[in-house]
Amino acid sequence: MLKNNNKAWLYLLPAIVFLGVFMVYPLFDVLIYSFEEGYNFTSQTYHGIGFYNYSYVLRDPYFLQAVKNTFILVIITVPLSTGIALLIALALNSIKRLKDLFHTVFFLPYVTNTLAVGLVFMIMFKKTPYSDGFINVLIKAFGGNAVDFIDGPYWAKMFVMCLYTIWIVMPFKILILTSALASVDDTYYKAAKIDGTGRLRMFTKITLPMISPMLFYLVITGFIGAFKAYSDEVAIFGTDLNSAGMNTIVGYVYDMLYGNSGGYPSYASAAALILFVIVFTITVINLMISRKAVVETR
């Protein structure tokens, strides 16, 4: 305020240094890596520049499996979790008694360690020679056949994966939607009631448009989050996701970087950039749709 203050740079120095080293530099570096062919981690040499890393990654069956898994996960979990969260938020908003209790309980998964609870899901769904596991007991009680959800068929594994993902992402969505619903001005409803508007009409013509910005926010962050799925999968299927056939794109990146396939930062970079392009494209499409939808409701 007093004068042009060069001391300001001193205050900013730590932030600039950390961001520079761990965010800005890597951004350029990852691009360079992705084009360096045959990079060797130990000798830090490479023998060419080109698109080989990309073509390798795109032909790698593990990567294609990971892409397939990720897309299925995204397509199932984002609409489902957002929809259920909206229903729960609506239900929460319509009650008075026990509202706080429900609200608190529903938020619990947010503050739990993903890896820890994933382990619980695993033992609930796993079928071993000694025990069918809790879920299979339920299935049998309703006359079904026991399935091993952890080491069994693809659809079963995918089911657990989606279920756990939804379980994990719900608290955030419920929280956001509940506060969005609560912030809709009561007078709109009063006015609509005087006009004799029905419940469904009130929902589609007032509630939905009013919370649509938040809804789209959730869809967009939901897409981004689901595309970056990894920890939840490790929690359920263990670190060797490739052999479980349940790897995700991010999982592939990490495996390439370190882990069982061991030390190929070039492939990892190429895969990460492909992921970034996918996420970016989908986010842009989302934003375009949301802009249209939000304008229409005005």
Binding site: M1, N4, N5, K7, A8, L12, P14, A15, L19, F22, P26, L27, D29, V30, Y33, F41, I84, I88, I95, F102, T104, V105, F106, L108, Y110, V111, T112, N113, T114, L115, A116, V117, L119, V120, I123, M124, Y130, D132, G133, W167, I168, M170, P171, F172, L175, T221, G225, A226, K228, S231, V234, G238, T239, V253, Y254, P265, A268, A272, L275, F276
Partner: protein, 277 residues
């Protein structure tokens, strides 16, 4: 009226069903952790309750695997990361909100642009950087990449800017230095926001898995998340599920207690600035 009552009942049933889905895993892990190893393995059809709870699994969790060490590591990691981050972001937010300097707006725009960079993109180079610096299996290596958060700088800057200009002038007239004003006036006034940031960061640290997994392969430096993974793959002879569940319970408890104490604060904070999923 009758229709309304049915509606209400349906709503409550629906909410209760979801509450059960949320709570059941917690119940199951506590239940399993209390079952005797032999009893658990003897149950082909797992029972929904136990008549003879045992604390033996908890003893095993701390004695057979290094749960205590994982705990201590995570605690240290969380405290150090949060502290260093607080210093970094408070200083940066102060510069952006209170000081005038050339290039401020451009720099702030650049900072905001960084918010769009996904962690997955930069983690590769960071892994290489930390490896090259010989910082694998060290706390420094664990902490360094996560001590800045553009989002928290933004959040705090917005908050700092709410403090009226006149307070700054008053402090200047009294001969308070910039740093003195920051520490004695701004930080105390913005304490609620800072607490929110601390809580969110603590949750993030306690649950962090990917970076520690990349940067540590020596169990001496494992955090709880990596510990769980280690226990699952190598601990307790792989099959001692009750002991694993005991470890899981122990790991889950600190955050749940934190949550129950600061319920309002955490939920407010998350709706303001948290994202997950």
């Amino acid at each position: 009226m009758v229709k309304n009552k049915i509606m209400k009942t349906v709503v409550y049933i629906f909410l209760t069903v979801w509450a059960v889905i949320v709570l059941f895993p917690f119940y199951w892990m506590i239940l399993t952790s209390l079952k005797d190893y032999g009893v658990y393995n003897g149950e082909f059809v797992p029972s929904l309750y136990t008549t003879q709870p045992t604390a033996e699994n908890y003893v095993n969790a701390f004695s057979q695997v290094e749960l205590g060490r994982y705990f201590l590591n995570t605690f240290l990691f969380t405290v150090l990361t949060t502290l260093v981050m607080l210093v970094v972001i408070v200083l940066a937010a102060f510069a952006f909100s209170r000081l005038q300097f050339r290039g401020k707006n451009v720099l702030f725009a650049l900072f905001l642009a960084l918010m769009m960079i996904p962690n997955e993109l930069v983690i590769i180079t960071n892994y290489v950087t930390i490896t090259n610096w010989d910082m694998r299996n060290t706390f420094t290596g664990l902490i360094l990449p996560s001590v800045t958060s553009v989002f928290y700088i933004y959040l705090l800057k917005e908050n700092f800017e709410q403090i009226p200009d006149e307070l700054y002038k008053a402090a200047k007239v009294d001969g308070t230095s910039d740093l003195g004003y920051l520490m004695r006036v701004m930080v105390p006034i913005c304490q609620p926001t800072i607490v929110t940031i601390v809580i969110l960061k603590v949750i993030e640290c306690w649950n962090s898995f990917v970076w520690p997994r990349l940067i540590t392969d020596d169990p001496k430096y494992y955090l709880v998340s990596n510990g769980i993974q280690e226990i699952r793959e190598n601990g307790f002879g792989r099959e001692n599920i009750p002991a694993m569940m005991a470890a899981v319970v122990v790991i889950s408890i600190p955050l749940i207690i934190l949550f129950l104490c600061f319920r309002k604060k955490i939920m407010e904070g998350v709706s303001q600035g948290g994202t997950k999923g």
